[in-house]
Symmetry: C2
């Protein structure tokens, strides 16, 4: 008897028919002899609708109340899924963050899980229940409601799978799995049957939206095998697991892109030790994730520092940068939202130098200018103009032969 | 500085504009120097919508999951109201049942409050917050979510007012206060400026929907003065408080009606001791509230027992009665949903005999047949045909001169 954690995203439970479909999938797994824990996101666009409601009342709603508001979405969907499962004749109970002790830090809207108490879930499973968990949320030690940020239900699912010692964690979504590129930009994109944690981490951090970055980190750290599958088919999807010798090692597995970042530049800062630490320290204090960083060569004792952030952090970043400009006596800041990032990811890159050079050549030969570059052992990332992202993805997918079953 | 608990019903917070209106009322009270605790119901028709959603998934959704589902409604509205208050520049936090320790028994969908822990609210008030509470819900000792049944937010408000030692509890609703009859049936109905707890109890239990029965009981038991007011005006409304010598004592204060009850009859039960106890004991076990009871005179060792219940309990009552018929070897049951109840309520009745006789006469002279009668020291209730309820209310309102300021 396997213990399986399943996660169903909002588009998989957007209406009554879809909830029934999910209930059926959960029950099928249970009837096949598995103990099943189902983690569920808020129905369809509920989270966005709630944010809209909050903004109608206040331009910048307090984070604490935003989290209390958003947490209701998954509490609702988890109860509804439990009801739909009961209707199929199986025992089911819904449990939310405070009931099962998903403890988080106190950073509202972006909380991190600090501890999970699995005993109540285990007891419920032992009593023959299918357990439905409200994803995306937890509570602080003071019982304050927190949410884990976008895609947080994935993290809930993987963290639970780790805590419960599940055999694997199935992430059901509205796509068939992980592809060699976004199929909306590149119709020839190929489904990847197996991807290593490291590749998936790079893909998630460079724009692949199918799995949330933190959930992949959790999976890697606790060795939880992830199965990314469609809730609308019975196909096996993509398995994310540890790299092994037997694993097919493509030099380049996928080309990912991210067009929801902005490039921020702080200009004319004094070129002396500690400045960069001050800039990025202050951004970190304000919970702004910085991705790529570029520091220009010093000119007459001053330099420019550029970095990329998520678009949603722009307002907060503007405030931080304004105060930094004053503090550092810098010349000013620039916010550029017309950028995008294209990334090649592949576990095989480690042993194949020259991938970056070929990437730059492909982009250049298609008239695409590279503004920033970032590399790791298994990825190369370039910031380009947003308007060129579609052709960049397609040209790279073609040039590296990703549509073929290499 | 007064401590005030305010309660806002669902129709008072049905959309963003109305929530802003409520926020303004809350803030006005705070700026007038009061410490304010606002208890809020789910937005508009949220509770009904959630029940509909649950029924789309399951004909009889499990009570536990129904409560987990319904509890989200008030959690949502309390966060939204806190956000709207913050937008007006005042500090506000929302708190729900498990955070403030509103403990209940484990009777899902109809739970009773067993204990309230006021310390967290008091601390929040002392920190200068307006505190917004999710009404209608609590948690058991095992942190299971429960709801208090229809109108439960009134009970939450009054129970909190009692626990916190509030100066009074304002119940804001979509009507101007308590009237001498339902203004929809009797346009000449008069607003009652002051009503005693006892009168309000009789009115609530006999069909006046403006306050939930249990909240009035709480108010009486803990001497919490209730102000029933409109959230759409600044009128003082109706004050519900202890009867005092100075209080205007109308012989008859109001005529109320209830057209959502059914009359249940179990026929041909053996006329021996213990039968009634068995019938009503079993109904109580199943959490079915019985109101009026009538036992016919025994004929050949058998009798009929009739009683009234809420329409919403009919399905459950049918099951209970079927098993009782078998157990008691009774002749059968009859369910009559075409009944209604009309009631005269007045604190002055105690010292004025003859009210009942006049009531029967008024009904008879208007061709209205009386099927069951129930009296207390301050009320007389008659079950009649549902189709005649409008004329019964109007004729009694006229005959007892209720439109005049007696």
């Amino acid at each position: 008897m396997a213990l399986v954690v399943q996660k169903y995203g909002g588009s998989s439970v957007a209406n009554a028919e879809l909830i029934k479909n999910v209930a059926l999938k959960v029950v099928e797994s249970a009837r096949a002899g598995n103990k099943v824990v189902a983690v569920v996101s808020a129905l369809g666009d509920t989270t966005d609708d709630l944010i809209t409601k909050a903004r109608q009342l206040c331009d910048s709603p307090p984070d604490r109340e935003t989290d209390a508001l958003l947490a209701t979405g998954e509490q609702m969907s988890s109860a509804l899924l439990a009801i739909a499962i009961c209707n199929l004749g199986e025992k089911a109970i819904s449990l939310h963050g405070s009931q099962i002790g998903i403890k988080t830090d106190g950073v509202y809207t972006k909380a991190k899980i600090t501890q999970i108490e699995g005993s109540r879930i285990k007891a419920a499973l032992d009593e023959g229940n299918i357990v439905v968990i409200a994803g995306f949320q937890g509570v602080t030690d003071d019982e304050e409601l927190t949410t884990l940020g976008r895609g947080g239900s994935d993290t809930t699912a993987v963290a639970l799978a780790a805590e419960l010692g599940a055999d694997y964690c199935e992430i059901f979504t509205d796509v068939e799995g992980v592809f060699s590129a976004d199929p909306r930009l590149e119709p020839k994109a190929r489904l990847l049957p197996v991807v290593s944690y490291e590749e998936m981490l790079e893909m998630a951090s460079s724009g692949a939206k199918v799995l949330q970055l933190r959930s992949v980190e959790y999976g890697r750290n606790y060795k939880v095998e992830l199965h990314v599958r469609s809730s609308f088919s019975t196909n096996p999807g993509t398995i994310v697991k540890e790299e092994s010798f037997s694993m097919e090692k493509a030099i380049v597995s996928a080309v990912t892109h991210n067009d929801s970042e902005a490039k921020v530049t702080i200009m004319g800062v004094p070129d002396k030790p500690g400045i960069a630490a001050r800039v990025f320290g202050k951004l970190a204090e304000n919970e702004i994730n910085v991705d790529m960083i570029l520091q220009n060569v010093s000119q007459s004792g001053h330099s420019d520092i550029s970095f990329t952030i998520n678009e949603e952090d722009i307002d907060k970043a503007r405030q931080v940068m304004d105060s930094l400009v004053k503090e550092l006596k810098a010349k000013g800041t620039d916010f550029d939202t017309e950028i995008a990032r294209v990334t090649l990811v592949g576990a095989g890159m480690k042993s194949h130098p020259g991938i970056a050079a070929k990437m730059f050549e492909v982009l250049a030969s298609n008239g695409i200018n590279i503004e920033m570059i970032s590399t790791s052992s298994i990825k190369v990332s370039c910031v380009i103009r947003k308007a060129q992202i579609g052709s960049a993805v397609r040209e790279l997918h073609e040039a590296f032969g990703l549509e073929k079953n290499v």
